[in-house]
Symmetry: C2
Subunit: 161 residues, 2 copies
Amino acid sequence: MAQNDLQMDDGVWLYCNNSAVRRAARQLGQLYDEAMGKTGLKGTQFSLMTQIVRSQEPTVKALADAMVMDLSALGHTLKPLIRDGLVELIPDPKDRRAKRVKLTPEGVARQKEMLGLWQEAQDRFDKSFGLERAQELRQTLAFLSSPEFAESFRRAEENDA
Amino acid sequence: MAQNDLQMDDGVWLYCNNSAVRRAARQLGQLYDEAMGKTGLKGTQFSLMTQIVRSQEPTVKALADAMVMDLSALGHTLKPLIRDGLVELIPDPKDRRAKRVKLTPEGVARQKEMLGLWQEAQDRFDKSFGLERAQELRQTLAFLSSPEFAESFRRAEENDA
DNA sequence: TGATTTTAGTGGTATATGCCACTATATGTG
DNA sequence: CACATATAGTGGCATATACCACTAAAATCA
């Protein structure tokens, strides 16, 4: 019976993995943005800047791969940050097609400033959700984000019956 | 040591729950959109239309709540579907502020058409990820999407130390 | 080396999504 | 009933994100 109810009691259709992830993403987005609030930057921007810091001056392409994001989507997403002087693109001398993404000093400062706020949000998440469960969840989500999973999904036979 | 590595081996920063969910959402979005491809509609639109079908002519507000989506965001998201004649808004006679969301006959047809494609994607997901794991995951994500979790997150004390 | 193919970015266009300001309508209060 | 407040939607603006077409530059191959 449990597998049959495509409709849940509260009337929300919970059966689609894609939809479920997006709903959760919307909620977390609001929660984390709230936590970042005063800084004028969004949670997504913090994550992006943090990934930039951790990668050693990645190319736009490498950064897009790390973020599991479309190359051109990343380009668009970077624009506001570049406009506001937090990020800069530096042509790679070895490969003149490529550009390296880097935080400006201002960007570094802002990222550090946000780190504390992020940590608070993270702590509240762990407290509400459970630390171990959170670690497990992130691992699961990382798997869903991996090229291996995408590969596996695309290869999967549709031989239902 | 495990708690200390904010940077993973492959250089992707995996510590942020928010970022992890979004990465997964991007990947699943691509996978499900791919599956919907030929229909000209996105996975998000399918999910939205399906939720509309399952709710009994919900108001825009009720639908927004079900989708864990901002009211105005939902309004924007509905526009292309209304423009293309798949969805219509019908003023509620009892409460003249409210509007009821409904699929047009064309919308119903398209939703049914997509249902098969969605099921294939769903099956491939289950096969790649594991059926039980998938059910568990959806439950977890539903919890993260719940007002209870949001409440709990917002209330959580930031007394780290 | 010259032609072909692949890779990196950019710009256009479209959907997804949020916040804020504003309008209309309903609700509650004195 | 008149006024204050709360609720439902809309429209503007901004970011998030994708696909496609196009340019430039590197890599491959004949």
